[in-house]
């Protein structure tokens, strides 16, 4: 008892000090992180909350009068041809860009990774990544020229090979494909970069074992690299899908021009929102569109996480 008492006193003392120190550390961490949280709350969470609130009102941006309309904006949206058109186009572009970006960036990353001994490896990486950092407006203008029905090199190439020139920027389907190509071209570099990091972190021993078992390069890629890179695929698919749903400038630039031959305007959600807010002055209505976009992106991201986790467990 004596001995326990002798030892207990200093222990409880130490524990007390430790508790105080932990408390201090806790409060220091809270205070340190508070400015970041405050900024995040102000620039990220507040606009989202405000958008949710505005979606329930009718407001023309200028008037002090802002009547509450409940879910009326949402009801009207689902009867609005332009909005439904925008949803279909945006979904086609987002999924189309994802379908192109993921396999192509994975294959390109594999090729670059396995060719790292080449003295051109750095050049390949840079060349693939450049579209991601190039300013969107001049890039889209260049693509507009590429797709031009009369003057564009794409149609010239098609005609040179005996094909028929296509109205790339005017046909309802082709104009969406043009935007998918442009979005994919831009996101590809980012996908390749992330996949390269993934490839570099894959365990070499597994590949050596597979080689000893007689697996060739293609088999290793499909049966080992692809499953092992699932977390990377999840990340790239989420990023691509979200950026695809936020597509705006590509559609705007490929169609807008006060001169020459403008193209068919592919109506996408963000463009429709901007038009409703700042040209039609229907801010509540545009906010309702933003809420729907938010819900779509959240649901799809949740589904992607769910699917890849389930497969990972199997």
């Amino acid at each position: 008892m004596v001995s326990s008492a002798l030892f207990a006193a200093p222990n409880s003392n130490l524990e007390g000090k430790d508790k105080v120190s932990r408390k201090k550390r806790f409060w220091f961490a809270i205070i340190a992180i508070l400015p970041t949280f405050a900024i995040f709350g102000w620039v990220r969470m507040f606009p989202i909350a405000e958008t949710l609130r505005l979606s329930l009102f009718e407001w023309n941006l200028l008037s002090r009068n802002k009547p509450f309309v409940g879910l009326e904006n949402f009801r009207e949206l689902f009867q609005d041809d332009q909005f439904l058109d925008a949803i279909i186009n945006t979904a086609a572009i987002a999924f189309g860009a994802m379908a192109v970006t993921i396999p192509v960036s994975m294959v390109l990353a594999a090729v670059i990774y396995h060719r790292t001994r080449s003295r051109f490896a750095g050049f390949y990486e840079t060349a693939v990544f450049i579209p991601h950092v190039v300013s969107l407006v001049p890039a889209a203008m260049a693509w507009k020229w590429v797709f031009d029905a009369k003057l564009g090199p794409l149609n010239r190439l098609i005609v040179a090979f005996g094909g028929e020139a296509q109205p790339w920027l005017f046909d309802p389907v082709l104009s969406v494909i043009c935007i998918i190509l442009l979005v994919s071209w831009q996101t590809l570099g980012y996908g390749v970069l992330i996949y390269l990091v993934g490839f570099r972190n894959l365990p070499k021993s597994v590949y050596e074992a597979a080689r000893l078992d007689g697996a060739n390069g293609v088999q290793s890629f499909f049966f080992m690299s692809v499953p092992l890179l699932k977390p990377i695929t999840l990340y790239v698919s989420v990023v691509t899908l979200i950026s695809g749903f936020n597509v705006y400038a590509q559609a705007f630039i490929l169609a807008s021009d006060t001169q020459g031959a403008p193209g068919r305007l592919v109506r996408v959600l963000v463009l429709d929102m901007l038009e409703n807010s700042f040209q039609n002055f229907r801010v509540g209505y545009a906010a309702a569109e933003a809420v729907i976009l938010l819900v779509i992106v959240l649901v799809l991201t949740g589904v992607q996480f769910g699917l890849l986790r389930q497969r990972g467990r199997k």
């Binding site: 023309n60 941006l61 200028l62 008037s63 002090r64 332009q82 029905a149 009369k150 109205p167 920027l169 005017f170 705007f252 169609a255 807008s256 021009d257 006060t258 001169q259 020459g260 031959a261 403008p262 193209g263 068919r264 305007l265 109506r267 901007l274 038009e275 700042f278 040209q279 039609n280 002055f281 229907r282």
Partner: protein, 431 residues
């Protein structure tokens, strides 16, 4: 000591920074005015006006920031609704400015400016009315958009045509004769360039110009409100002409180069546009042989005014003086000559320009029965045009409509119902 020194140095730096910031802010409010325009080609004109004010306002700093019209409209909406620090002079089409005025976001003009605008020697009543709301002046008229036919005289001569078309039926006939085709019969040079695609309400606005020639209008006054008035014979005639040009006669196609750029590159024989094309063509295609002609019945007239908002009283005074300075004859003549937009001010002798550039005659030498129309100053005008434009784009590209008047009328009726729904929602649907 070290700590004290450090605190002292920091305090000095902070005080100096605050002083510089506050001082800079005061200076900016007192002497800077910003010119926001939606027509980039007018940059030189505003810079010239600013330069001429240097002698009377040596401290005045004028910053000219023009951008494309649609983006300009968006920034004006954002700026006026969220507040302005600097005194800004806005270029706005009268119908667009109305919504800001009724929401008290644009101040009325001071008495001397109102006197200048209301002086019958300076402006005709049409421009005075567009610059005012309920009899109170809010803007200073500056220039207008007005349409006329531009036609390539070499192509007309080659097609055996010795003058411009005078009726809408002739427009179709001339377009057939003027279209140049390749061996397979595909058009390579359009006979008549029409606005068939693109974004915004421009497609509907251009349709309205053609509709006007058939005696129709997109909207008509009905009691205290408005209603769609294009699902009728005039609307059908205008739509039929478009559809037949694209899918029937194929005198133009959706993917062909269009508008002023195509005209300047001789990729189209004729098109309808505003007077700025004259100044633009002088720069981009000085050797192009072309003339202009009146439209069969009349034209759109979109008066643009200068409005002032934001900043200090002193800077606002300078901004209004800028708007009046911009209306001085020497600047207006320069604008007409170098840019091509039509000044609104009366009593100025523009003959030096119109004689040297006879293409202006179709914009200034107008018969008494020439009928003008303008966009009504109603809040949903842009939404009406944009939504109608989306329907028109589909119709123009739909070859199944050729020869099918009932289907074309169905398109017009469906669009008119949508237009009326928008008017009803805005509470201005006429009975």
């Amino acid at each position: 000591m070290g700590k004290l020194n450090f605190i002292g140095r920091m305090s000095t730096i902070l005080c100096l920074s605050a002083g510089i910031t506050v001082g800079g802010h005061i200076a900016a409010n007192a002497e800077d005015i910003v010119i926001w325009g939606g027509f980039p080609e007018l940059q030189g004109y505003y810079e010239r006006v600013a330069e001429s004010m240097k002698s009377t306002h040596p401290d005045l700093n004028v910053i000219v920031e023009p951008i494309g019209l649609r983006d300009h409209e968006k920034r004006v909406a954002l700026a006026l609704s969220s507040g302005l620090d600097e005194t800004t002079v806005f270029e706005l089409i009268g119908s667009t400015a109305n919504r800001y005025i009724v929401n008290d976001l644009l101040p009325s003009a001071p008495a001397n400016v109102a006197g200048f605008v209301n002086n019958a020697a300076n402006f005709e009543p049409f421009f005075q009315e567009v610059a005012a709301v309920d009899g109170k002046v809010y803007g200073v008229p500056i220039f207008r958009g007005q349409g006329a036919l531009f036609y390539n005289t070499d192509m007309f001569a080659a097609a055996g045509l010795d003058g411009p078309p005078k009726t809408m039926a002739e427009y179709t006939e001339y377009a057939k004769k003027l279209t140049q085709r390749d061996a397979s019969g595909n058009p390579t040079v359009s006979g008549w360039s029409l606005r068939l695609s693109g974004g915004g309400g421009g497609i509907a606005e251009k349709f309205w110009i053609n509709l006007h020639q058939f005696g129709g209008s997109l909207l008509e006054k009905a009691g205290d409100g408005y209603k769609a008035s294009y699902a009728n014979d005039a609307g059908l005639a205008a739509l039929r002409q478009y559809v037949e040009a694209v899918s029937g006669d194929k005198t133009v196609t959706v993917e062909m180069p269009a508008d002023a750029a195509a005209f300047q590159r001789e990729q189209t024989a004729m098109f309808i546009r505003e007077s700025w094309v004259i100044g633009d063509t002088a720069k981009k295609a000085p050797n192009l042989n072309y003339k202009t002609a009146l439209l069969p019945r009349g034209s759109i007239a979109l008066p643009v005014n200068l409005y002032v908002a934001g900043g200090s009283e002193k800077a606002q005074k300078a901004a209004w003086e800028f708007a009046i300075e911009a209306n001085k004859p020497e600047h207006l003549i320069w604008m007409l000559d170098n840019v091509g937009w039509l000044p609104n001010r009366s009593g100025v002798d523009y003959s030096s320009v119109t004689t040297a550039k006879p293409q202006f005659s179709a914009f200034v030498d107008l018969p008494d029965d020439y009928v003008f129309f303008t966009l009504p100053s109603i809040e949903p005008i842009n939404e009406i045009l944009t939504r109608f434009a989306a329907k028109l784009t589909e119709a123009y590209a739909d070859s199944s409509l050729v020869g099918n008047d009932a289907a074309m009328m169905a398109v017009l009726e469906e669009s008119a119902a949508e237009t009326n729904k928008i008017l009803d929602r805005a509470g201005i649907l006429g009975k």
